[in-house]
Symmetry: C2
Subunit: 354 residues, 2 copies
Amino acid sequence: MENIINNIPVTKCEKSKISDVDFNNLAFGSVFSDHMLVCDYKNGAWETPKIVPYQPITLDPSAKIFHYGQSIFEGMKAYKDTNEDVWLFRPMDNCKRLNISAKRLAIPELPEAYFMEGLKALLKLDSNWIPTNSGGSLYIRPFIFASGNGFHASPANAYKFIIATAPSGAYFSGKVKVAIEEKYSRSANGGVGYAKAGGNYAGQFYPTQLAIQKGYNQVIWTDDNTHEYIEEAGAMNIFVRINDTLMTAPTSDRILDGITRKSIIEIAKAEGINVEVKKISVNEVVEAAKNGSLKEMFGSGTAAVVSPIAAFGYKGTDYDLPELENSYASLLKKRITDIQYNRTDDPFGWRVKV
Amino acid sequence: MENIINNIPVTKCEKSKISDVDFNNLAFGSVFSDHMLVCDYKNGAWETPKIVPYQPITLDPSAKIFHYGQSIFEGMKAYKDTNEDVWLFRPMDNCKRLNISAKRLAIPELPEAYFMEGLKALLKLDSNWIPTNSGGSLYIRPFIFASGNGFHASPANAYKFIIATAPSGAYFSGKVKVAIEEKYSRSANGGVGYAKAGGNYAGQFYPTQLAIQKGYNQVIWTDDNTHEYIEEAGAMNIFVRINDTLMTAPTSDRILDGITRKSIIEIAKAEGINVEVKKISVNEVVEAAKNGSLKEMFGSGTAAVVSPIAAFGYKGTDYDLPELENSYASLLKKRITDIQYNRTDDPFGWRVKV
């Protein structure tokens, strides 16, 4: 079956897999919708994107993705409201950040219309895959990787941009216990830490495994030179509340410019919360934990939205955070998800209807 | 056709492609031999490797290699001597380094016998692909990547180890002009710079493109904190000769422990050259260039072996290196390649017959 949505040619799958899916028991990103968007870069240009059935990708063993790490991605969600309308949250920010990542990884930048029109067409076709149960959403994974061939260590001459989607429940359950990293690092000054590059994630897995063995869920990365300053948690930016001030580290070439992060900052300010974007030293957080002024820490990210931290470990000591009745984390999570799911007004103009 | 070489099951290709190949005009790593070794990691264990015809790899769009950068590789060469005997150069060092990289990237370590026996079996089967013309060799690319599926940012549960080979001529032609990097970085303290991880290469491409636009061939990376110390060139370690002392930076968690690098150090010492393994400041090199004591700079690596540097650029000034009649670079390249191609004794015990 061939047709066109938003100028995007569509080849539909023969039979939907949706009846096989238990929408009440969805792990994160492990069940995939019926279709995907594919766009190839060849001969110096991005070709017209197309929608095809979700299907395997075939590559030569010399494809540069296997050897030289040219891969970038985005994480987004589609939300369905009680009227069955479908919404995106600041999608142009993901589109623009994908191209910021592309530039740093020497990947050709993608036309914004291919991203936005392709995404909307895909969501229209697979709208039945967007969960309607509480906290559920359709996780959207746009990604680009080097599909060109050859063992020479240089940028590929061919790339694939794909958008795949996965109906998903919540990313984390419960509060997390984090380790503040004292030895390993996520990124270098002048490196690729601000890009959503595959290699930034692979490098975190081993130190995270070591932290998990010690009873933590995640690592909070510190600067690679002194380990004295809190940066981000790899899949989340980090917020720290001392007394009634909410703080987060400034973005840099080492820290991802998180869309949830910057939305949280704006919402918090609109709520009258004192927000400081500043370098946060580990010592400052430890001192605040000791003297009782450390009220909250939480992570922010597309997958987890807002992820409260129960305790952090540093230099062999664990510091528990208090249980608060009216936490900033729960307030801000409610505010941002109310906007995302169209349960409230959107004074910021962030919501985009599909 | 099924048979067994070195306990490795072999499925031969139906028809060799070798008659299509012009061995006198081989670019680096762009023509591939008839067969490859494949070994899968599944259900917590590496399965028995097998040799199959060189063929495409099929992966789910959610395969973690596309998203989270879990990929590592090695670079090696097979050399054929005038008796048609086939040789490897310190292959166990590649095998051990692959597992060092694997550990840092949270990839399960590979049994050494699978690497060594698999490689030897592959070379026996495809020995006709090893060039015999001057400077030619069979480039060997062992690599491991995450083939397991799912969008969750965590180590994959399945991996593929592959050895593919490519008959190749020399990697670089002529002397290279390098830029000493002042802004971008290759690796962080506590990061993955010492591993041969795909992400280490992707991050270099954009700064290298900028350098190429300014007329340089490659970048010499400096430390990410001060940019005051010379580290490596990404695909090569760097040697600097001031007067008659040959210097190279110590390996670290930011610098690859190059097999050519450490062989060059040992050969140079055996030749009576004064070798210093020490931190090399950019200022020291610039001063030596100005006062005439800088005699040579060269890169070392498997692909290029020894790659003389004609000039370097730093802070807007280019510094030319002198043309020497009896350079260390040409002496050391002759010594190491004579060992590799079995043209001389091997007092170090580095050569391994296949």
